[in-house]
């Protein structure tokens, strides 16, 4: 398994990075187990693994964010003692974090020079920095105005500011942590072109991701992590997504979801001109009109933050509608007066919110307490004025066996379950009430591949049982494999709707950027 590539012991070219026996524990969690890794100079090296496999921890150690308990780091063949980010920067390592490390109220220029200002008084360094930025921008075609306020830039541009920051500090090795999570497919393509340019200039790129498609498309070599250990190194050209996913999970997984044609029946949910404002009075959903029929899954696609969350929360009764109406089986259930989350639940709307820890469960509760949240006034759970804990335990045990929640202990604290098992418990709570309509947001965020497979199957089973399902997800793959119809949102408005059978990533990507579906398809035709 530990087949190494790159220059041999006596070869003239040293690997850009070599990690030997890196070990790290956080309390009881063994995040990195004796990791060995070699990254060749001038290559794009992918590191894949499921959430929690230890990829980010490993890279944080390399960047000096944490110290390893054991092991050594060698850069260009030289042993380096990296105690903090400043040491990593000094040996030419730059990092683009998953959550950008930018000051939004600062200009691009100010963000770039932070930490390398070149003098106690700013003016001394700023002019030189401006020249250098212009040169870097031209060289890598980054297209950024150095005086723009970072908070006003799109996510894709903010990411380029991060890259610029690293290059400005003279980075020869660039680490990118899950860089495409917040990008449209087109923005992601642009990013990969930038990475290719970097490679041509002799820079080394380390790409951390859980998306196999990106690994296959962008990298030269790939290393796979599982449960804190490095399990395999491959040349990208000599491996396949199937092999990588098997290595990631430790068993064979079905990458493609198998499902039959949908048999949509009567309209269950009908949304007309729905508008939703946030607490600051900003309109987040603008005149949304669509419907969901029994026996079909409608997916809402869009880049994170384009109104999908607010739409889902309004339909779940958490937010009020400002305008428009919502009908459930022909009855008016416009969220607002008299129609709240509890009322909607009584009428057969189940809601799996996007943010599991904030909205779907209380992590400090036991599993059985979490399993009745929102349904705690069900007569089946009552004994006089008290809760009937025996009945609740039995019901929770039933949910756990039905949805394969492990460990199946109703008294265990919810926080002690893995993300996938927490999500299965939430889904069990909602689905087993046999609702008419299932609203589900980001069902597999922070969930391991094995559980994803299971969750997807249960959602399809809901559909096949003749229920209506509305799915909101920022994972385009998930939408494309689950949904029968896809509604695309951009900036709060619905851009258009496409049948899943006609959808492909390019068309959806263009629509997510606000391009009209007909134009998107035309553009696709020309491409």
């Amino acid at each position: 398994m530990h087949q190494m590539h790159g220059a041999g012991e006596t070869g003239a070219v040293q690997p850009a990075i070599e990690l030997r026996g890196i070990d790290k524990r956080f309390g009881a969690v063994h995040a990195n187990k004796e990791i060995d890794l070699k990254v060749d100079k001038g290559t794009i090296h992918g590191i894949v693994g499921e959430n929690g496999a230890g990829k980010s921890t490993l890279m944080s150690i390399l960047y000096g964010f944490y110290q390893a308990d054991a092991g050594t780091i060698h850069v260009d063949g030289k042993l380096c003692d990296i105690k903090g980010s400043e040491d990593a920067i000094a040996v030419g390592i730059g990092m683009v974090h998953q959550h950008f490390m930018l000051v939004e109220t600062f200009s691009v220029l100010e963000n770039v020079i932070l930490g390398v200002e070149g003098g106690a008084v700013l003016r001394e360094g700023v002019d030189k920095a401006r020249e250098e930025l212009k040169r870097l921008e031209r060289e890598y075609s980054l297209n950024i105005d150095p005086d723009a306020k970072v908070g006003d830039l799109s996510v894709g541009l903010q990411q380029r500011v991060e890259i610029l920051k690293a290059l400005y500090r003279g980075a020869e090795i660039l680490i990118l942590d899950e860089p495409t999570g917040v990008l449209t497919p087109q923005e992601a393509d642009h990013l990969f072109r930038i990475l290719d340019t970097l490679k041509e200039q002799g820079k080394t790129v380390v790409l951390i991701t859980h998306k196999l498609r990106e690994i296959m498309a962008a990298t030269d070599n790939v290393s796979v992590m599982r449960q804190g250990a490095m399990v395999a190194h491959r040349k990208t050209a000599e491996t396949s997504p199937e092999e990588l996913s098997e290595l990631m999970v430790g068993r064979k997984v079905l990458l493609r979801l198998e499902k039959d044609e949908a048999n949509p029946a009567a309209t269950v949910l009908n949304v007309e001109n729905l508008c939703v404002d946030n607490a600051q009075g900003v309109r987040k959903v603008k005149n949304a009109t669509f419907n969901v029929r029994a026996g079909e899954i409608v997916g809402i696609a869009g880049v994170s933050g384009n109104g999908q969350s607010e739409l889902l929360e309004a339909l779940g009764g958490i937010r009020s509608a400002s305008e428009g109406k919502v009908e459930l089986n022909g009855q008016d259930v416009t969220p607002g007066k008299g129609v709240d989350a509890a009322e909607l639940r009584r009428r057969g709307v189940a809601h799996v919110p996007e943010d599991r820890h904030r909205m779907a469960m209380v992590t400090a509760f036991s599993a059985k307490e979490a399993a009745i949240l929102g349904y705690e006034d069900d007569p089946a759970y009552q004994k006089g004025v008290l809760l009937d804990w025996n009945a609740i335990s039995a019901a929770t045990a039933n949910m756990m066996s039905e949805f394969d929640v492990r460990p199946d202990n109703p008294d265990l604290k919810a926080a002690n379950f893995s993300g996938g098992n927490q999500q299965k418990l939430v889904l069990a709570r909602e689905i087993m009430r046999d609702p008419e309509l299932l609203l589900v947001g980001q069902p597999t965020r922070g969930v391991d591949i094995g559980a994803i497979e299971f969750i997807h199957k249960r959602i399809v089973a809901m559909r096949d049982a003749g229920k209506a399902v509305l799915l909101v997800s920022v994972e385009l793959d998930e939408i494309m494999s689950l949904a029968d119809r896809i509604v695309v949102m951009c900036d709060g408005a619905i851009v258009g709707e496409v049948a899943a059978s006609e959808a492909n990533e390019r068309v959806l990507g263009l629509m997510m950027a606000g391009v009209d579906p007909n134009e998107a398809k035309a553009a696709e035709g020309q491409a």
């Binding site: 956080f26 980010s85 400043e86 040491d87 920067i89 974090h97 000051v103 932070l114 200002e117």
Partner: protein
């Protein structure tokens, strides 16, 4: 007394009453721009005022008193930093604790040392900051308009008044034109960005609270050795909070904060002036109402007449490296 002279006197008083507010508001700004809420301004001001008066009494020099005040407030700032920055404690609770502690401790030590019911002995001339008369102030006194402005309004204040007004552009320059200021503002917005840029977040925040301590120490010394001639129990009377309000009102920026401090100072000065004045149609203005004006105004202004005040993003949050 003609109206012009009245205005000059009112503005003159405004400068004097707003000086401690300006210094404290700038102190608050340095701390809060770096992400540490500084509700302890009130207590620090009180501690500074006491140290200044007590030391000036023993030594006979206002300058040594000033140094003592600054030493005291730096120590209190470090205490606040130790609780909030090092130990990631609740910043509001730590601030309030310092306020309560200093209210009691200054009185206690005052009684133990001087046995005058919490007061410090009255300072003689040499132990206080004296008014500085500008050259030629006497000569131009009778020149119409400009004369009184120069000799009454601008001249004749003690050194700390001038320091406070110079401190505003100085603070602006430090905040917006230096590396220190850039990093300080960054650490209050996104400490992660500072950490990943290879700068220590904790050290940066400590430096900011120390700056805060220096400034608030001066405002404390001003109360007891420049404006007044001794320390009185709880003599700050909420000035620390007013300064904090002025800082928020000024959106955490030096010049708008200065404007807010001048407004509060003006109301304070006007309140003193208006006592016992009979206004046509209204009758005698109730003293309590006038004295309450600055506070009422604070509430009204903060309640939303100032547009949205957007605080530093990381304000009130200790920096914890995410996993």
């Amino acid at each position: 007394m003609d109206t012009f002279q009245l205005i000059i006197l009112l503005l003159d008083a405004t400068l004097r009453t707003s000086t401690p507010l300006i210094l404290a508001a700038l102190a608050g700004m340095f701390s809060e721009r770096s992400g540490t809420i500084n509700l302890a301004l009130e207590g620090m001001m009180l501690g500074g005022a006491f140290s200044a008066a007590a030391v000036a009494f023993y030594v006979g020099s206002p300058w040594v008193g000033l140094l003592a005040a600054i030493a005291t407030t730096i120590a209190l700032s470090l205490l606040h930093g130790f609780a909030c920055i090092t130990h990631k404690g609740n910043q509001v609770v730590s601030g309030m604790a310092i306020n309560i502690l200093m209210s009691g401790l200054t009185a206690l030590v005052g009684i133990a040392l001087f046995a005058q019911g919490g007061k410090t002995p009255a300072l003689d001339k040499g132990s206080r900051f004296q008014p500085i008369t500008f050259p030629g102030a006497e000569a131009v006194k009778d020149v119409p308009v400009l004369g009184p402005i120069y000799s009454e309004l601008l001249s004749g204040h003690n050194i700390l008044v001038y320091v406070a007004f110079i401190a505003v552009p100085a603070a602006w320059w430090v905040m917006y034109r230096t590396r220190f200021g850039l990093r300080l503002r960054a650490v209050g917005e996104n400490p992660g960005a500072v950490d990943t840029a290879g700068i220590g977040v904790v050290a940066m925040r400590y430096r900011a609270v120390i700056c805060s301590g220096v400034l608030v120490g001066m405002s404390g010394a001003y109360l007891s050795t420049a404006q007044g001639a001794s320390f009185l129990q709880d003599m700050t009377a909420g000035k620390g909070y007013i300064a904090l309000a002025a800082m928020v009102f000024g959106k955490w920026r030096p010049f708008p904060a200065l404007a807010a401090c001048l407004l509060f100072g003006f109301l304070d000065a006007a309140a003193t002036r208006l006592q016992g004045v009979v206004l046509p149609g209204i009758g005698e203005v109730p003293v309590q109402l006038v004295q309450a004006l600055p506070y009422i105004l604070t509430v009204i202004l903060l309640a939303g007449f100032i547009g949205r005040a957007i605080p530093p993003k990381a304000l009130g949050r200790a920096y914890v490296k995410e996993r």
